[in-house]
Symmetry: C2
Subunit: 429 residues, 2 copies
């Protein structure tokens, strides 16, 4: 049974705080293992990759091949049902259209003191994409990671993915073909992340690494942050659904379960102002679970991390939602915009009763790589900006140096930096 | 003597690669010490802060006071020379004006399929600013860190700074007063970063921590990345100056020394197409060093990390500069825009002979917190965006669900996520 809270109860504040502070992330300390793997790949390069792949993925890269060929991707795309090919193509087109609007503007101008000031954005040279193998090999994640890099103008995208036993999901290859990925390496784990960051004889280094992975992959990215750029520290997925009694409890139950089915550590929370609706939604969840092929995972997640929170009204609910800073937030009410105006922290918001979160996972357009674990307080979903960087610039003439130089000289001297002061003072006239 | 390379020499390629790959960053492993400090502050809060402060900064917070009062900041601002007060105010005004232009645009619209799509930016609730004590307590850094947060709309800014022996630099307090900082804690080191991230009884937690610090502070930020947002992994400062023979060698020498004087690990590199100018600049550096109060540091940095690189022409130089991806890049040539067009990776660019880098450290407007150690390949200087986050949103009606929902259902089923599929399918009509 999920947690059930009522804001009218005396112990509500403490119980809600416990919910906010609950850690769902695994504390498995893989940091030493990962450090050792990174060091060895840096020192031994491809030989280390071949050895780790033989050990963890049980195939010999020198026999099965290091790379997936473009021909394999084309064949995979042709092999999948038309309906799926069309769906992937619709998704790619819509994700591209949404991300095109994220492209930043350059600036360049001269201010009142005669100082030319500006900023110029440019893409990174190369991006690395980690795609998990096995159950979590999602073609949708591949599109969500690659398309922002493509829109940013990244000229080289290198994908790595483990192929346990040599096997690879054809849907992932089909998505790679649609996204235009031409470089795919059959390596995974921390060793693949190390190869992307440091480079090997075969795999040239990249500048930014994104994409989901297991604890080893996540720790490798964390340790290599600074050597390369990374997308974010990701944790288990979560959803908050704010729903009134006018909703169909079956719909809301399905929405809650669409997070619960990801992983036992996922979290689904329903806020409602109607006790009867809370009961109906809870009953619908229990009815739907046995019908799901993912039912065991969904049941475990819902029982351990799920919650139903009964509130007096939305004015009481929204500050509570903000404390959770959820990755996904559905506002299934009459006037979702009024509630959205009160939201300060959320990764992505789904407005109204006809907007299930899952449509955003696939085809709506916004990115589904979003901050988890209350990180929407300070971070954003993956975007074109993650694959770009900004160079500021300025240009002075004699008049501009004379106008603002003396202040720089004064501050440099006060900070005890005489060469700073001299470099400006020499140019004053 | 600094390194001297000539692109005409047979071993140039290898020697330049060695320069690019040279690590200047200290490898001091403070990670275990820092982990222990973070754990203790998390567990013991203010008591741990008081103990560490007594041990490392040699004063008793319960006697000297935990906070710097607004009255102390006002008094500091009144106590400093008018020239410095004016310079700080000019700097604050210009930095504010530059950063105002970085404020991102929200978006909201309905596309051809009837899907409402948008993104909304908002400021983080609270930002923490680390200000070093002692020699590196720079009022200019305080302004560069706080002003983007203020422009972003951050409502609470908490500053921490060690006050060794109880002492604090009045210029820093004056800058805090100008920047409008009202919360200043007299704690420093990894323990101060931990307090900002986890919160204590006295210090409420923040969402983002920025500001320079020593190896312990940098490691604390690195370890807490994900618990809070951080600005960047910072390393020693560096400059590349591209200068032709029309420059005054004294000016260029001062520009090179303005980086060298920061720290023995700083790096200054001159690219020139004229051997006689290279000699003249080198001689000017040697002449200027003895005149600097920072001469010992500058001499050490210049001798160990400095370099003069003679190239045939700028077309040869610019790809080499890109490999260095310098924090600061001066283009002291006739047509700096032509060279700037060839630059792919640099933190900040200074156009023309009248634009010394140091003017950008203080009063020009762009941020002086910039990516170092070749990180301009993938990261940007500190900006308003570091204190904001983006919430994407979408809204569908029946027509929009019918238009794009079936593709989401197909993909969800193919990925083996039946609750995802059901949450969309239930709404199809």
């Amino acid at each position: 049974m999920p947690l059930r809270l009522d804001s009218r109860d005396g112990d509500f504040a403490a119980a809600f705080t416990a919910l906010v502070d609950a850690r769902r992330e695994a504390d498995a300390d893989v940091s030493r293992d990962v450090t050792a793997i990174l060091r060895r790949v840096r020192a031994e390069g491809d030989a280390a990759l071949a050895d780790y792949t033989a050990r963890f993925d049980r195939h010999d890269l020198n026999v099965s091949g290091w790379a997936v060929t473009p021909a394999e991707c084309r064949a995979a795309l042709e092999s999948i049902p038309t309906e799926l090919r069309d769906a992937l193509q619709l998704a790619a087109a819509r994700i591209t259209a949404y991300h095109e609007k994220q492209k930043p503007q350059d600036s360049d101008g001269v201010d009142g003191a005669g100082v030319r000031l500006g900023a110029r954005w440019s893409a990174v040279d190369a991006a690395g994409l980690y795609v998990p193998g096995g159950r979590a090999a999602y073609p949708s994640s591949l599109l969500m990671n690659v398309i922002p890099a493509k829109v940013a103008g990244v000229s080289r995208i290198a994908m790595v993915t483990p192929t346990p036993g040599g096997e690879i999901n054809p849907l992932v290859l089909a998505a790679a073909q649609i996204a235009g990925i031409e470089e795919i390496w059959r390596v995974g784990g921390a060793q693949a992340v190390a190869a992307l960051a440091y480079g090997t004889d075969r795999i040239r280094p990249v500048d930014v690494i994104t994409g989901p992975g297991n604890a080893w992959v996540a720790e490798a990215k964390r340790q290599l942050y600074g050597v390369v750029g990374i997308d974010m520290v990701a944790g288990p997925s979560e959803i908050v659904v704010v729903a009134d009694a006018k909703n169909d409890p079956e719909w809301i139950a399905a929405d809650l379960l669409s997070q619960s089915e990801h992983d036992p550590t996922s979290q689904s929370i329903l806020f409602t102002d109607d006790a009867a609706f809370a009961d109906a939604a809870a009953a619908a969840v229990e009815r739907q679970i046995p019908r799901l092929s993912t039912g065991a995972v969904a049941a475990a997640s819902w029982a351990v991390n799920g919650a139903i929170i009964l509130v007096r009204d939305w004015d009481e609910a929204m500050p509570l939602v903000d404390r959770l800073a959820p990755e996904h937030l559905e506002l299934a009410v009459d006037d979702p915009d009024a509630l959205f105006a009160q939201v300060r922290h959320a990764g992505s918001v789904f407005l109204g009763r006809m907007t299930p979160e899952a449509v955003g996972d696939y085809v709506a357009g916004p990115n589904h790589v979003l901050p988890t674990g209350r990180r929407a307080r300070f971070s954003s979903g993956l975007s074109v900006l993650d694959f770009m960087k900004r160079t500021s610039f300025l240009g002075l003439d004699q008049g501009a140096v004379n106008a603002i130089g003396p202040a720089a000289v004064a501050l440099a001297k006060a900070e005890g930096l005489p060469a700073h002061a001299a470099s400006v003072a020499l140019r004053l006239q």
